[in-house]
Symmetry: C2
Subunit: 327 residues, 2 copies
């Protein structure tokens, strides 16, 4: 059955039934003109993002379930990157009249998995028609201490929370595979790389899980999530903090899977790790005296953005990373 055969009101009612639940701090959820929350004296964080079919995701490769999960993850990642705890979600959905109701349902199943993963509640949104599918989400969170991009200081160490480049390599693999891979059902695909490598990489691209900064939030001086690539996002921290940075190429953590896939793809692994977006690992700085359980990849300097290779040779950043409307 098509969305045009179901109607907006019935779709909204489905969501209302599926997602309504009692939640601390929630006064009024789905179903009125606006949602109402009661933050109780805490600071409220707000992050919003839009995902457009054909730009941010491709339904020829991505299942609706994956798109729904990812939409929530990228916004949750922004809240985590500020040291916050995500609490609530607003979601706008637009798609063509001829979209199958199964697509709608699977997308919201993916949203539901994300809600459970991050322990958040869907409290409102909007459904409308469009040509290409468009999703936009706003995540609302709370925080005591806010971690801004601008807090890095000379001498701080630079950390990342996990291996980089997997999502970018996963995207390159998807461009070759060119059809949906239902990693959530653990389906295999014929490809000259082992399934567990393929799965680990494309999963990072298709269904990224945001990193909760639980162990670092009270030690970090600045933080950002890596959505547009290590170099580009680090340059943002430096620009906001008025500092430079040096990173050590061989200290950047990469997965074994990335090394193998990079060889297959004919691109050096560090190209993915430095410039590849959508890893959704956290990039943060902390004073050198703090003991931090994460990958230390460099240090904050007075000025200049440098990559130092294993021979000690320093090279200036080339700012690679995903930018819309890049000239």
């Amino acid at each position: 059955m098509k969305l045009s055969g179901v109607g907006e009101l019935a779709l909204l009612e489905t969501l209302r039934k599926k997602f309504t639940k009692k939640t601390v701090g929630l006064v009024l959820g789905i179903g009125d003109d606006a949602a109402v929350i009661m933050p109780g004296g805490k600071q409220t964080l707000l992050a919003t993002d839009m995902m457009v079919e054909g730009v941010h995701f491709d339904l020829d490769w991505t299942t609706p379930y994956q798109a729904g999960f990812k939409l929530v993850s990228v916004n949750v990642s922004d809240i985590y990157a500020m040291g916050g705890r995500p609490r609530f979600l607003l979601l706008n959905f637009a798609a063509g009249e001829n979209t199958d109701i199964k697509v709608f349902n699977r997308l919201f199943d993916g949203v539901d998995l994300a809600l459970k993963t991050y322990d958040i509640t869907l409290i409102g949104g909007d459904i409308s028609s469009s040509r290409e599918m468009v999703l936009s989400a706003t995540v609302i969170g709370h925080s005591g201490r806010i971690l801004r991009r601008s807090g890095a200081r000379r001498g701080d160490n630079i950390y990342v929370t996990g291996r980089l480049g997997d999502a970018a390599a996963g995207l390159e693999l998807m461009k070759i595979i060119k059809r949906p891979v239902e990693i959530e059902k653990n389906r295999t695909t014929d490809f000259p790389l082992k399934w567990d490598i393929i799965k680990s990489l494309i999963e990072r691209h298709l269904m990224p899980v945001a990193r909760r900064p639980v162990k670092f939030a009270n030690k970090a001086s600045s933080m950002i999530d890596i959505s547009d690539g290590l170099l580009l996002d680090l340059s943002r921290i430096c620009a906001e903090s008025g500092t430079g940075a040096s990173i050590f190429l061989e200290k950047i953590p990469v997965s074994e899977g990335l090394v193998k896939a990079a060889e297959y793809l004919g691109t050096p692994p560090h190209e993915f790790a430095l410039g590849g977006g959508e890893d959704y690992e956290l990039l943060f700085t902390a004073p050198a005296r703090e003991k931090v359980d994460a990958f230390c990849i460099g240090e904050i300097t007075d000025r200049g953005l440098k990559i130092i290779d294993k021979t000690g040779k320093a090279e200036k950043f080339k700012l690679k990373g995903y930018r819309h409307f890049a000239g």
Copy 2:
């Protein structure tokens, strides 16, 4: 110059400079992973909406300035309809690579006018590329007393804050005019109706101003804004409140301009007033003992949705009004 020649980062920087201002309750605005507000013990209201080119607006008829203004208005209207005061705005913008920078700038000029009109602050958002233009906004507001849809009680009077049907008639006129009318510059157009009539109607469609319920908020028992048509929105109040309603056809306020345009369009004025969406007037109920300075159009009953004409004949609602994916 095209957006692809400017780049996402430069566009964001433009917005940051244009819209950054100190605001009470705002901890951190545009430029980090998330915005941070400090609600100070009040209830926080959240409303979100998406506008898709070709569905919600047509750039062949609507100027970017008008689209930007309207995007904010429709969300502010949702906050007002809950008895709230709008405070902050998050805005996502997506458009084609070849979009002219002037379109971007004029759209945000329209957003800026709306921010000043409603005294709110833009605190974050996202810019990306797409084929058709897509805008989504989230408005955050505060409120003491929340006005829900569910508070109507038998015997309450039903009120609207202004004349209905103008926006729907304006839309029909725009379908004939079929080119942008820069009402903001007071441009005339050749058409067999007086310019002041055309202007008043198409302005309601192109640049609606949300109604602040300042005089009614403490008297109303339920409230909704008329975005999808009087009958459809009233049926929502009744469904949520578990009541019926009777409205008196001749009490529904219509403008002189609507009467003249309706005659020209060959449709009875009350068709626009009952079923036409996007008036963004408020529809509310209040106990009959309250003195209310608004148009009383009927009363809440036990059950049934009835329109009573001047002869006293009652007819059931036909639920007209805009619905996406309407079968």
